[in-house]
Symmetry: C2
Subunit: 343 residues, 2 copies
Amino acid sequence: MTDKKHKKADIITVAQAARVSASTVSRYFNHPELLKPATRKRIDSAVRRTGYIRNRAAQTIHGIRSGTIGVLIPTLDHAIFAEVVQAFSDSVAEDGFTILLASHGYDLQREYAILRKFLEHRVDGVVLTGLDHDEAVFQLIDSQKIPCVLMWNYAAGSRYPSIGADNEMAGRLIAEHVLSLGHRDIACMFPPTGGNDRAMARRDIVLSTLKKAGVTVPDPWMFETVYSISASKRDVTELLTHDHRPTALICGNDILATGALYGAAARGLDVPSDITVVGIGDFKGSSDIEPALTTVRLPARRIGREAGKALVTGIISAGEDPAGSLHCAPEIIRRQSSGPVSQ
Amino acid sequence: MTDKKHKKADIITVAQAARVSASTVSRYFNHPELLKPATRKRIDSAVRRTGYIRNRAAQTIHGIRSGTIGVLIPTLDHAIFAEVVQAFSDSVAEDGFTILLASHGYDLQREYAILRKFLEHRVDGVVLTGLDHDEAVFQLIDSQKIPCVLMWNYAAGSRYPSIGADNEMAGRLIAEHVLSLGHRDIACMFPPTGGNDRAMARRDIVLSTLKKAGVTVPDPWMFETVYSISASKRDVTELLTHDHRPTALICGNDILATGALYGAAARGLDVPSDITVVGIGDFKGSSDIEPALTTVRLPARRIGREAGKALVTGIISAGEDPAGSLHCAPEIIRRQSSGPVSQ
DNA sequence: CATATTTATGAAAACATTTGCAAAACTATT
DNA sequence: AATAGTTTTGCAAATGTTTTCATAAATATG
């Protein structure tokens, strides 16, 4: 069936097989309603016989959309980004778009290089993760006049439409929750903030919210811990050896909080009666861990889906007023890992 | 700098700006050594001034490689696939390839449709996940004579080179481990196997290994549980209410095992003294959970990396004998969640 | 049945590149 | 300074499509 010597079938091969011109075959795909039903059937069979597959590259040089969207993330290794990407991909696939995916590992230089590559492929739009990017990146996008959305974080005055959660709000919510339970001796654990505006914003707002309530976090209770359960477990285990312990631990994300829970368990301490542990993110599994984790939900799936919708809209209705930002509000999720300070 | 009226700069714009012909600009990119250093510099500056970005679509219709690889996975929502994809992407990025990513959610029909789309984009190669696919999928790949590797699973006689772990071996290893600890009353929990050859192979080999040792799993101890911590926790909590309990539980993957651990904790049972729990996968976090999970390591990162290398080799040295399969052997990882049966 | 409309198709130009070939510009050699 | 050899460059054809415009075929109108 799909033999046809060796060269790949092109539109002309099909045209000959159907005894029509190449233009007619082109119309068969792009404006089938213009064809006589009989011709349509003839081409249909010719396409089948020759095993022809349209060549989007050839279409793209006519200024026709490539049908691809560039997705730039820090890493897939954080389950939360994988979730966002999955939702984004599903969302744009409905409109026939395929994603080009690349990760920069928090290296801004690489982000620029990847973006260039995306543009060489003539993507119809790009999504970046987070609000902060190299100025060169923004300029490149501007110069190519290509739709862009920033996903994951939300901020009112972002350079491009931002679709995501307000990190400051997330940080504030969790800090206020812990304060409301009466805690004053509070430790904090955040990932290294280099090149990561999300983590940075969260940490700063947590600290300032605490300070506003008159609570300062002593230096030895301020951890900078890489994003991994084992690192967090190690640091928390260490922290809990000392006799002067905090009554609460605020973690920058649920992975760190999970490690903290394990660390407390390893030390034989009860959560929350000995120590309250909270995270940010509401990752998969956070609700099932023992004890279930109190956290702030960042609606990853919704963010991915909405970012996809927004970008597709931007692509399809190019030129019009760009789609606006959208705040997918974070929400405090109270579970068992937090409790009132025990006197 | 990158102004230039409104139309995007093409190779002719650059040529004019540098006062050379388009061919020379083309050579500047593809065979720079053929150019006089002075010309090179002139073009260099013209490229910069015009903000020109090469158009890979236009190159691709000359039979030049597109520089893209299609990656087809079931879903990114399983952290383990995200990990494989991340490693794959990093690996091929070294050689300048960008990935087109799509997930089919275990729907074979969608897999075919996605593959077609990849081919329209003229990907230089494709990776599929797992060994089993619709015959139409294989035929399509054959007819387009495009390099393909199957990743994640390994089997000697696979239709295309397979790079991954031998699932039968993984299942056998974990079953033998549990048997070697003296367990006879064994429960099993596996994900639904529809359209998922990996899960199926694992389950069947575990069961047959047990049977060979004279152990049969009674029907009420045979769980088909969706891939989620909460579903597993629920089922295990239920299982452990009955007074006649198994002494060991073999889970088809670490997510289910994690839920099982939580379920046991919720019931106040000790692992491993009351019940042994084991998984398959060695996901991130499996080593840190309390108690640390005994499992079989499926080397996701290595698989992704090797699959990337193999495919790139297949693309670059097209025509030659295709790169062979590679077995990334699974390996039993003994931790605290398994112990000898207590009499 | 001839003419006017409408519908369906083909020819050729356009798209942004690469590349084979030939001409032009240099260098080296005498 | 003329010639031969080499390096550098430009022209034009080719790539696989889409699209505009013109023409041919089919249908409707009188």
